[in-house]
């Protein structure tokens, strides 16, 4: 029923069992490197590495493909425009528009980059439950307030999603059908306002309850991370692969 889900976070594969801190560091380096890369060779190397990680995570293929298709909507939008607006040698024309060879290349490069990063993040980050992720970010020295905000926001997402579904059901039972008119916008505005009002009430109650239990702005986590040999191997291997990609990028600048 819930629209919010973490389909990839549970599992017993090697990628799931690795220490989340190592995975976060590797994923951040990888995403930055590929986002900055300009050469086809480096991007293809990154894509290969990401797919290797995806094998380590052994996720349901259909779901991963479905995610990728949905995520590529912005890329699809760029394909409608970029091949025609990028200066270069004309390749073919559609009506008044001329597609260029360089434009197609550039769009293809962006598509590969985008998907390499997303696959890498699905394999390394989506395999960490959000709560664990918040704790790992905390132990990686991100501002504690930010980590607490993340954990708390996540905690209440599901509560309000359910609340929202209840309100939607109530509207449906009263014969509400969304259309392009003022009544619809007003109804949706009141729906959002109701969510916010209830959230404010709940926030007060939660805050008072936390004060009663001695909350002083710090969460004490019972979880400890243990760095094992496989984490060292994963980190070393990944860093080597990233160095190789960096070297490729540096040696073969701008194929496109």
């Amino acid at each position: 029923m819930s629209g919010i889900a973490e389909p990839f976070s549970e599992g017993s594969s090697l990628a799931h069992r690795l220490d989340p801190r190592g995975k976060i560091v590797v994923a951040a380096l990888f995403a930055t490197l590929i986002a900055v890369a300009q050469s086809l060779a480096a991007v293809l190397g990154g894509l290969t590495l990401a797919v290797l990680w995806l094998f380590l995570a052994w996720l349901p293929w259909r779901q991963v493909l479905g995610k990728l298709l949905a995520v590529n909507s912005f890329i699809f939008f760029l394909w409608l425009v970029l091949p025609f607006s990028y200066p270069g040698d004309p390749l073919f024309t559609v009506g008044p528009l001329t597609a260029t060879k360089q434009g197609i290349w550039f769009s293809a490069l962006i598509t590969l980059k985008s998907n390499a990063i997303i696959i890498g993040l699905i394999a390394l980050i989506a395999t960490v439950p959000v709560v664990t992720l918040g704790q790992s970010l905390h132990s990686l020295k991100l501002p504690p307030k930010l980590c607490h905000l993340l954990l708390f926001t996540y905690r209440y997402l599901y509560v309000f999603e359910e609340e929202y579904q209840r309100l939607r059901t109530a509207m449906k039972m009263r014969g509400f059908r969304p259309r392009t008119n003022m009544h619809t916008y007003r109804a949706f505005a009141y729906l959002a306002a109701m969510l916010l009002v209830r959230s404010a009430d709940r926030a007060e109650r939660v805050f008072q309850a936390m004060l009663c239990r001695g909350f002083r702005g710090v969460f004490y986590s019972l979880r400890t991370f243990s760095w094992q040999r496989r984490d060292g191997v994963f980190l070393a291997g990944s860093l080597l692969a990233l160095a190789a990609i960096l070297l490729t990028e540096w040696r073969l600048p701008r194929l496109v």
Partner: protein, 201 residues
């Protein structure tokens, strides 16, 4: 709509990240430890409000409400929006890690601007406040569209048409956000004036 990974140039990514870090630092500084549960619960409600799809003629748009978020939270809206976008990247894989800074600036800078521009108007009675509420929602989306277009254009000249299309796509959303922000404001004023207390602070 969020810009996805791998599109923007390194300079734009770095600039967006730097601005987002500064904004987040200011926001965190203004947020006491004690305020965390309140901010988080409000930000969760905003996250869920973005799941509301509103029909606009043949297509749909989803609510953003970053103007309203700015009104209610001020600078604290920056870390709240950062967290919401991070969760969206995690749960839906929309947006991403390297573009998180840019996307945060696109959403949160208009929120902070709306806070300073429209807070004085909303203190006024009646019609002026209503106009202010509409303008707040309207302007926040307009600015978001402009910032997104700027991020694309600064990446490369070839992105001009894409930037124009992206901005055009924001136009109908602007009007809807203006209306929805207005109605939400009126609802608060009628039923929960306490929620708007921050406006008068």
């Amino acid at each position: 709509m969020h810009i996805s990974e791998g599109v923007l140039s390194p300079a734009v990514l770095a600039g967006g990240a730097a601005l987002a870090v500064v904004g987040t630092a200011i926001g965190l500084k203004k947020m006491d430890y004690e305020a965390i549960p309140r901010v988080a619960i409000l930000s969760a409600a905003f996250f869920v409000a973005t799941l509301i799809h509103v029909p606009v003629g043949p297509v749909g748009a989803h609510l953003v409400l970053n103007g309203l978020m700015g009104l209610l939270l001020g600078w604290v809206a920056v870390p709240a929006i950062l967290v919401a976008l991070f969760l969206q990247a995690l749960l839906f894989q929309f947006g991403g890690l390297t573009v998180l800074g840019v996307n945060t600036v696109i959403m949160a800078a208009p929120a902070v601007i709306a806070y300073y521009l429209f807070r004085p108007l909303l203190r006024q009675p009646g019609t002026i406040a209503a106009v202010g509420a509409f303008a707040c929602g309207f302007t926040a989306i307009l600015l978001s569209g402009l910032f997104m277009a700027a991020a694309l254009v600064f990446t490369g000249e070839a992105f001009w048409p894409a930037a124009q299309l992206a901005l055009a796509a924001h136009l109908p959303v602007m009007i809807i956000e203006g209306l929805v922000t207005l109605f939400i404001y009126q609802y608060f004023r009628k039923t929960q004036p306490a929620l708007l207390a921050k406006l008068y602070a």
